[in-house]
Amino acid sequence: MIPTAMAFADKTTANGYLLVLAIILPVIGILLSLVFGGRSVERVAMVLLPVGLAVAVAVFGLVWRDQQSLVYIVGGWHPPLGIALRADGISAAMMLTTAIVICATGIFARGEFSQPRGSPETRASQVFWILLLGIWSGLNTVVLGDDLFNLYVALELLTFAAVPLVSLKGYQETIKAALRYMLFALLGSVLYLLGTVLIYGAYGTLDISLLSGRVQPEPVAWIAASLMTIGLLAKTALFPLHLWLPPAHAGAPAPGSAVLSALVVKGSFFLIVRLWFDAMPGLMSFASSQILGTLGAGAILFGSVLALRQQRLKLLIAYSTIAQIGYLFFIFPLAAAVGVDEPWAATAWTGGWLQLFSHAFAKASMFMAAGLIAEALGHDRIAELGGIGRVLPITVFTFGLAGLSLMGVPPSGGFVAKWLLLLATVMEGQWWWAAVMLAGGLLAGGYIFMVLGKALASATVPLKIVAPVSRSREMVALTLALFAILLGFLPLQPSEFLQIGRPEVLGVITR
């Protein structure tokens, strides 16, 4: 069944309050943590993780069951004067992914940021949990927000929680990385805000649903959208605005890297999609979609080649993030600028989102695995990984599983995603992207096997294990990798769920 385009519900739907809870619960956690401090901080987080996950599951389930968006009108003030929250198909899926990754990260992080009983409170353990909750609240606002300025505040929430996470270790190189990240992020936000201002000036509303009916193809809309897109690209670290990402993501503590690479950069990507598909549907020209696609292609090639040349595991994974982000941008040439009649647009749309979700699981698990390896060895130099496969078989297996998804080898979410994208490129006659994707897959295979090859080889120098690795933390990483694999069992066809609540339903191949 093809979901028909439906008018936006402009009133609170049943159970809409869940959307408020998704944003406010982590905020309450932050406030409690600030007051009580000490061991309570971790306890607060441990209580909130399952509750937040339950909220996300409930929202996902309700959107699935009712086949329509959940809406909440905050304070009863309707847009354009007030602010609405809206969970459509992509928000619900994104929320669920976020909740799973955050929960796994929280469990994983207990090994690193727990406060032993009776010891004085330490900086990292206090700060980490507050920032984790901050990121969660920020991401939920990003995916649920329906108001461009509310989304600006959400972006800032995300930035202010993410930057200190980068410098949490307090080494000089991580402070440098955090500062560089901060500058890019600030420039990004201010450009986004500038675009928002112009849109309000031209159309008198900031509500995305209302904008979708008002925006005209005219210079002010193009200028505003370009400014916002450039700003968001800087935050997403799309090539060539990626300079800040590798040191930042590699420098954070492993659970931090997991969240930053898996989720935070996706937040700003999500807004680019919201902007072009929902706020200004049909406005993207062929040329601009090709520019975004080309930058994505550049990211895939550049990121993968650089990943191959890294000597440190965490940097390799960070460069791989740059490459994997590139795939997401094929959504624009393949689904945004082709018109609603293009039968393969929905295929590309599904492929793009699956790439996002499977990369989130795979990359989080990969950073955790790398963190465990670095913990065990006291370093993460790839050349000296020989023999680690015997010491930490589960972790190396996890790395390999996650790697499958990055390469796009079946069965994995990455495979389904890349297959759908590939199918769309060929069927839409934009075969040039297909060439890049194939090259990207090969290069990803190159850097994954480079690591696995070293890890599974016998030790050239006797391996020194400096710290024991907890089995339960290995299992957390493995579980996330399994989620990435599990997505691989989704049917190889466009998803209807991901189109719920969209203003224009993308073309679907009819059989």
């Binding site: 009863g76 007030g82 410098s167 031209a202």
Partner: protein, 313 residues
């Protein structure tokens, strides 16, 4: 009209000149002083744009608090001033061209904005009675878009956690390294004794009047923060350790009350952050009062910086 316009052209020209100077002047200290003047001029522009609430915020934060923060940083960075290489001429030319292009594009947009500007003013005005407030800006901040305001408080607190997170491990929970003078002079102490009572009164007045006239929690909170900082500079009060429980309570009391009122809306007014009919003004005043306090403490601590000592010096 024409006299006023001549004045405004002069104002705009002065603002731009000062801005250019802020960017290009060689000495960092001079740049910051120019930036503070720039903030005050911008506040006058806001008055000319009939946005007095914004003018107050810009003067207090843009001209005042930011300048203070920057001056403190510049003093610490004094030894390495003018280090770092300027990018070469081609790079600067390219940047200049790019920026001119962006300015030009924005200029065209300004010129081509719709003749009949789309506006929410009538809607904001029409619903004003329902909020019980007289100041439409306050109604936007605390009723129509209260959710933004709430999240923005969280942004402030996260920024503070971020600032604190940069403390060295051994001094976590300790005292911010906020020192301006080795030994404050007697005249400064005099000022710090004289001004705060008046300043606190003005801060409270700003929040109180904000319900009906320009003013509000942000502006009032900034004045409170300034008074607190002055007292700390003069060493009449020690800089508090960040682990102090009462301090933490002050930080969160505003957001906690605001969220509590918001959640109450679920029960009593059928929406989060909705106010029960007839009670909206008193509830908003309660929220604003506690927020003023929390904003004041948060801003003060943001300027005071991360802990640098384990205990009181």
């Amino acid at each position: 009209m024409t006299y006023v316009f001549v004045f405004e052209v002069g104002l705009a020209a002065l603002l731009l000149a000062i801005a250019v100077w802020t960017i290009v002047v060689r000495a960092t200290f001079a740049a910051i002083v120019f930036f503070m003047i720039y903030g005050l001029l911008a506040a006058i522009v806001w008055v000319r744009l009939f946005a007095v609430d914004v003018a107050l915020t810009e003067a207090a934060i843009g001209g005042g608090l930011t300048g203070m923060l920057m001056l403190g940083a510049a003093a610490r960075l004094r030894e390495i001033e003018n280090s770092g290489e300027k990018p070469g001429l081609p790079m600067r030319l390219a940047a200049g061209m790019l920026c001119t292009l962006i300015s030009a594009a924005l200029g065209i947009v300004v010129f081509s904005l719709p003749d009949v500007a789309p506006t929410l003013a009538p809607m904001a005005k029409a619903n004003l009675a329902q909020t019980g407030l007289g100041n439409p800006v306050a109604a936007v901040l605390f009723a129509y878009r209260a959710f933004d305001t709430l999240l923005e408080k969280v942004v402030l607190l996260l920024a503070l956690v971020g600032v604190w997170s940069l403390a060295p491990d051994r001094v976590w929970g300790g005292v911010p390294g906020f020192r301006v003078y080795a030994q404050p002079s007697s005249i400064l102490v005099f000022l710090a004794q004289l001004l705060p009572p008046i300043g606190i009164m003005i801060g409270v007045y700003m929040f109180w009047t904000g319900a009906s006239y320009p003013g509000g929690a942000f502006q009032g909170g900034t004045v409170l923060a300034a008074m607190w900082l002055l007292v700390m500079i003069a060493r009449l009060q020690p800089v508090p350790a960040i682990s102090l429980r009462p301090l933490r309570l002050l930080l969160v009391v505003g957001p906690v009350i605001f969220i509590a009122i918001g959640l109450l809306g679920f029960v009593l007014a059928d929406a989060f952050l909705a106010y029960p009919a007839g009670y909206s003004k008193p509830l908003i005043i309660v929220a604003e009062a506690t927020l003023t306090l929390s904003i004041g403490v948060t801003l003060g601590l943001l300027v005071a910086g991360p802990p640098e000592w384990k205990t009181q010096q």
